[in-house]
Symmetry: C2
């Protein structure tokens, strides 16, 4: 039980400074303090000064928890993403965070590890903070996730995938189309013995869509993936290097390999460089993401560049706006590079 409001002069009260203490120190009412601190409502010069110096003197830091409860507006935007080490998501975060800050919001995030059930739990726990918006990766979610999101009344942005309409705002591009373009590019360069290196497609749904688009486009050209090395692990440079080694051991006559992303492709490129495999003459390599490391490699990686920062910015902006629900396809760009 708190004695605060019963007796202001109780001696043993080691609690944190509140607006009440500031008001007493400044000899004004609590609401005046509140007005000064929020810069709203008319307050006399005098009162303002007294409040400000009381704040400084007491080292008062407003309690946003209480403020939010009273005003119902948390100024918190939640980001629910599959991974944080994957540069795709850290780029999105890196762009979204300052945008949100500029809009007076604070970013909170949670990592699902590519698990839709974990995502469901995290969405629920984020919603418990009554955020003003939620940004979540992809458009695939559990039915309960969708129901919670729909029922929450907060703005939702689904990002990095824009093939279908979503719950509210969708910002991304077509992964299927990205896969398709990559296949067409390889075919246009005369590649016919094409392999694939990927990680867990049932978890990384967007990589799965690229794979699908890739296979479709090959089929349209009367071709197919000759051999594939798919390891259900987190994608990494190491995985790409080892996977390509295994793939080539099994099927040495491939003339091109499509990787699920640039991390894997860079690993593949390193394998080739370390083993004297001529790229692209003997073997062509194609990645996806358009990472710096690929662009700047001694032999620039052929890949598809995605506007990740733009997506982060746009999602952050829209989620804080009054814009109608919409799907924003920001597209992607095929980078020819020098490995195909």
């Amino acid at each position: 039980m708190g004695f605060r409001n019963c007796d202001d002069d109780v001696v043993d009260r080691p609690s944190v400074t509140t607006i009440h203490d500031v008001a007493r120190e400044a000899h004004v009412g609590e609401s005046t303090v509140s007005r000064v601190l929020r810069g709203q409502g008319a307050v006399s010069e005098k009162a303002r000064d007294r409040v400000l110096s009381a704040v400084r003197k007491l080292g008062y830091v407003p309690n946003r928890i209480a403020g939010t409860l009273a005003s119902s507006g948390s100024r918190l935007v939640a980001l629910v993403i599959p991974s944080i080490t994957n540069i795709v998501f850290s780029d999105v975060l890196a762009a979204a965070a300052p945008t949100l800050t500029a809009l007076g919001q604070q970013a909170v995030f949670a990592v699902t590890d590519y698990d839709l059930d974990a995502e469901e739990r995290l969405i629920e726990s984020m919603l418990a903070w009554r955020p003003s918006g939620i940004i979540v990766a992809g458009v695939e979610h559990t039915p309960r996730s969708i129901a919670m999101l729909r029922g929450s009344g907060v703005r939702i942005a689904e990002i990095l995938d824009a093939e279908s309409s979503g719950i509210d705002i969708v910002v991304g591009f077509s992964n299927t189309a990205a896969g398709r373009e990559s296949a067409r590019f390889l075919l246009s360069r005369g590649k016919r013995r094409i392999g694939y290196v990927g990680h867990d497609l049932t978890r990384d749904l967007r990589a799965g869509k690229r794979h699908k688009g890739f296979c479709q486009a090959l089929a349209d050209g009367d071709q197919r993936v000759v051999d594939a090395e798919i390891v259900p692990a987190l994608s990494s440079i190491e995985l790409g290097r080892d996977s390509l080694a295994r793939l080539l051991e099994r099927t040495p006559d491939l003339d091109a390999v499509y990787f699920a992303n640039d991390d894997l492709a860079i690993g593949g490129l390193f394998h080739c460089m370390a083993n004297g495999i001529a790229v692209p003459d003997r073997l062509a390599l194609m990645g996806y993401n358009g990472l710096d490391v690929g662009r700047l490699a001694p032999r620039p990686l052929s890949t598809v560049r995605t506007p990740r920062r733009r997506i982060g910015e746009l999602a952050a902006t829209l989620v804080c706006s009054q814009q109608p629900s919409q799907v924003c396809d920001v597209g992607f760009e095929l980078i020819e590079g020098a490995t195909v």
Copy 2:
């Protein structure tokens, strides 16, 4: 003004479901609902079932804002870091986040962009959420930051630097020592014409300390940095590549270059590979961080590996613990690699 507690049967009340609604639906008191939801206090099987099905039926999501205000325990841990795209920090985050989740805490973060004044503002805004702990990069902060942190009463962990004692918990290693070891390693391999490539040392304070340690150790061996290329920009592969190019143009007879970090060093390595500069015979390269991309490059990068994930885990654990204030030096490891 809310009518909720005046009249439960008002028609036009489109507000979110509260514990009050659940209590009514389940025909129990609000406190019973609270007990069931928090799994605390004795509740009869019957009441529990009724509450649970009411929760499900109404799609109730508890309001943590209110819960926190009432119980004074936000279960929020704030992370204040300089950058999110820098793998060092995303690794720390990636390790800290699940550790915090396991401890029943939620991670919130803010990015300072290596600016101590921005850090001060962000610390204040984080403190306003009354987190149970704060994890912040480095031990250098503005006086006001330190005062706020000290006065907040929450646990503080300062990470990635363990040369001095800090406010509360410190988890890291000596950057000066890391720089020193790197210099000794180059000297031990007979390098004498040593150059340096770095980014903004006044902002990246830890890079500055490594540079200092490096120079000291060279001086101890009667050597010095022959030429340096320091560009006050964000470190990147591109910057490393371009900087090395400029450095070599100016001082072609260098036999080794120390880079402020692996991103820069990888850029340097790419420059050498693309321009036929023999590494390490003609030019030795030394980085810092121990990134995957360096370890897996065709020629593994010589570098210093730092236990970033361990730091993230440890800081998260300690900040949630009752352990006494302490400095944890988790050390680092020199990786010989093949570029020196």
